[in-house]
Structures are given as structure tokens and as C-alpha cells.
């Protein structure tokens, strides 16, 4: 009987030659108690499915921004009076150096997230807490930077309602910011669970799954940073 089960398990993992993966996989699939048709845990598959759908969400937001970024224009009525606040494009007022610092912070948080996942898989609770905390902290720094950037724009006269390019800009980066914030909250929940001793080794996959989300938010920023900030 045990043989049969083992055969099934080997069949599951046998397709992957990478020793790294085998370990990772074997312990997730089994320790979490899951035996699924594909061998992937439901949670992980669910997260990836969700991320696939998020591609379309950010695709829509980014293309809206691209369509609108060149559509400000001086807006006057027939009497020559300016109606609504008119400014040139928001993209000419980016502080690239500041934003690239933010980008580095977010990239670094991805690295610390990887460490957190490794710590979770090693059942190294202190390190896990350290890296979860660091990741959340770096995320918070990024959000802080974004808030600063937004207030700077508003002070320069670019509000959310100024014109359509600012609306599109704030909507896109705001959506991303909300995603980062949700990520921070989830990391903090993990941290709290770990501190209360309720994140046992068998649940280390949770860290990995939230890590996936976190990395995804990072990849989205990679795209936004290039397409919105750097390409003029």
C-alpha cells in the first residue's frame, strides 16, 4: 500500500530534475497534507491563477495611461477663459532619481522575501520573522516614497482631477500602491502568526504564496517604472 502511494508521489515529482525543486515541492505537497491531481497545492495554484488575472488588470490600467498620457492640452472656452486647471504633462515632472531609489527599495524587498521563504522552509523562525519584517518595512518605505511623490505632484499643481493624464497616472500608480499595501498587511499577518507560534513548519507554503504575490507586485512595478517613468 505504501508502495503505491510512494509511486504516485515519485510520479509527481519525478518530472522535475532540479534537486532544488524536488525538495521544495515534496515537502510542500505532502507536509501540507495535499494530494492533488497535479501535485500542486490548491493555494499555490489559486495564487498563480489569480496572478494571471491580475496581468489583465494592470494591462488595462497601463494601456489607459499610455492612451491618455499625451492628452492634456490647453482647455479654454470660447471666451478664451481657461476652464479647468491646465498643466502640461505630468510625465515631464517626474523625479526620476527619487523614483529609482523607490524602485531599488522594492527590488530589495523581493530579495528579502526570498530569504523569508527560505527561512520558512528551513523552519528557522527567528530568521523568518527578521526577513518578513524587513520585507514589510521595505514595502512601507516604498509606499512612503509614493505618498511623498504624490504630495509633491499635488503641490506642483497636479491633482487627481487636473486633467486626464494625471487621473490616469494616479489611478495606475494608486492601484499598484494599494496592491503593495495589501501585501504589507499580509506580511504583517504572517509575522504576527509566526510570533504567536501559529505558523508551523507545515504552513511554510503560506509564506511562499504570499511571497509570490509580493514578487508579482514587484514585477508590475518593473513594468510601470519602465513604461511610465523612463520611456518619454
Amino acid at each position: 500500500m505504501a508502495d503505491t502511494a510512494d509511486t504516485a508521489l515519485t510520479a509527481n515529482v519525478g518530472a522535475f530534475d532540479e534537486p532544488f525543486h524536488q525538495i521544495d515541492f515534496a515537502h510542500e505537497g505532502v507536509a501540507a497534507g495535499h494530494q492533488t491531481s497535479t501535485g500542486i497545492s490548491n493555494e499555490k495554484l489559486g495564487m498563480w491563477t489569480f496572478l494571471g488575472s491580475e496581468c489583465l488588470l494592470f494591462g488595462a490600467l497601463i494601456s489607459t495611461y499610455l492612451l491618455y498620457k499625451n492628452r492634456p492640452g490647453t482647455i479654454t472656452n470660447v471666451a478664451g477663459e481657461v476652464v479647468g486647471q491646465v498643466h502640461d504633462r505630468i510625465s515631464e515632472h517626474f523625479d526620476i532619481l527619487f523614483t529609482s531609489a523607490s524602485s531599488f527599495v522594492l527590488l530589495a524587498s523581493s530579495l528579502t522575501m526570498v530569504f523569508a521563504v527560505v527561512a520558512a522552509q528551513r523552519n528557522d523562525a527567528p530568521r523568518l520573522r527578521l526577513w518578513l519584517g524587513t520585507t514589510a518595512g521595505l514595502g512601507a518605505v516604498f509606499i512612503g516614497g509614493q505618498v511623498y511623490e504624490f504630495t509633491a505632484f499635488v503641490r506642483e499643481g497636479f491633482g487627481f482631477t487636473t486633467n486626464v493624464s494625471t487621473s490616469a497616472f494616479f489611478t495606475l500608480t494608486g492601484f499598484h500602491g494599494v496592491h503593495v499595501t495589501i501585501g504589507i498587511l499580509m506580511l504583517l499577518v504572517l509575522l504576527a502568526l509566526s510570533l504567536k507560534g501559529r505558523l508551523p513548519f507545515t504552513k511554510s507554503e503560506s509564506v511562499e504564496i504570499i511571497g509570490l504575490y509580493w514578487h508579482f507586485v514587484d514585477v508590475v512595478w518593473i513594468v510601470i517604472f519602465t513604461i511610465v517613468y523612463l520611456i518619454k
Partner: protein, 134 residues
């Protein structure tokens, strides 16, 4: 019969592999930082180079994206199903929105008459403000 869960202990996780993972993460992160530095540097490239700049930026963006997805998100090593799901999402998003962008920009003037340069001949309403709700 013993369940697999019982035999599974942390000892089964080979530390050297996780170490390997950590080492590679450093390498990937270093590459990401260098690429990002390079990206930022394009900001200071001469204005006339914009075509080269744009291509470089897109290439670097794709590389960074792929690196994070493949290594940090383990997509390179994980089940092919996951890769298919995610890549399908990305490709679908790209195809659909490139369709939108091209339909909304250069295809608009594909007719015999160019018609999207309408002068703003009419006055512009102020941004809508809602009447105070009752």
C-alpha cells in the same frame, strides 16, 4: 501503513539546496540592481538616441521581469501548469492591449480621410461637480 506526512520532517529539506537558492538569489538580485541602474542611466542619455533608449529599456524590462518571475517566483523550477497559466495571462494581456493601443492610435487614421485631428471648436465644460446630495 505510514502516511507520508509522518515521514516528512524538516531534516528532509537539504540545507545545501536552500543555501544554493540563497546564493542564486543574491546573483539574481545583483543582476536586477545593475539592470535597474542601467535603466536609470538612460534618463541621461542624449535626446537623439530615444529610439535606441526605448528599445534598450524594453529589453531590460523584459529581462528583469523574466528574472524575477523565473527565479524569485520559482517559475523556472515549478510545475509547468503554473508557468502556462501565468504566461498565458501575460501574453493575452499583451495581445489584447496592443490591439487596443493600435486601434486607438495609428489605425484610427487608416482611412482615406484623416479624421482624428478635429479642432476643439467648442467650449469645454468644467469638470463635473456633483450637486450636493440630498
Amino acid at each position: 501503513m505510514t502516511t507520508i506526512a509522518e515521514t516528512e520532517t524538516p531534516a528532509d529539506v537539504h540545507p545545501e539546496d536552500l543555501h544554493h537558492d540563497t546564493g542564486r538569489s543574491w546573483q539574481v538580485a545583483a543582476a536586477l540592481f545593475v539592470l535597474t541602474g542601467l535603466e536609470v542611466s538612460t534618463y541621461f542619455w542624449p535626446h537623439g538616441w530615444h529610439r535606441v533608449t526605448h528599445v534598450t529599456l524594453i529589453v531590460m524590462m523584459v529581462l528583469k521581469f523574466a528574472a524575477v518571475a523565473a527565479f524569485f517566483m520559482h517559475l523556472k523550477f515549478d510545475h509547468t501548469m503554473l508557468r502556462r497559466l501565468f504566461v498565458f495571462g501575460i501574453i493575452l494581456a499583451m495581445v489584447v492591449f496592443l490591439g487596443v493601443l493600435s486601434a486607438m492610435t495609428f489605425w484610427v487614421n487608416s482611412g482615406t480621410t484623416d479624421f482624428n485631428n478635429a479642432p476643439h471648436e467648442r467650449p469645454i465644460p468644467p469638470p463635473p461637480t456633483r450637486a450636493p446630495t440630498s
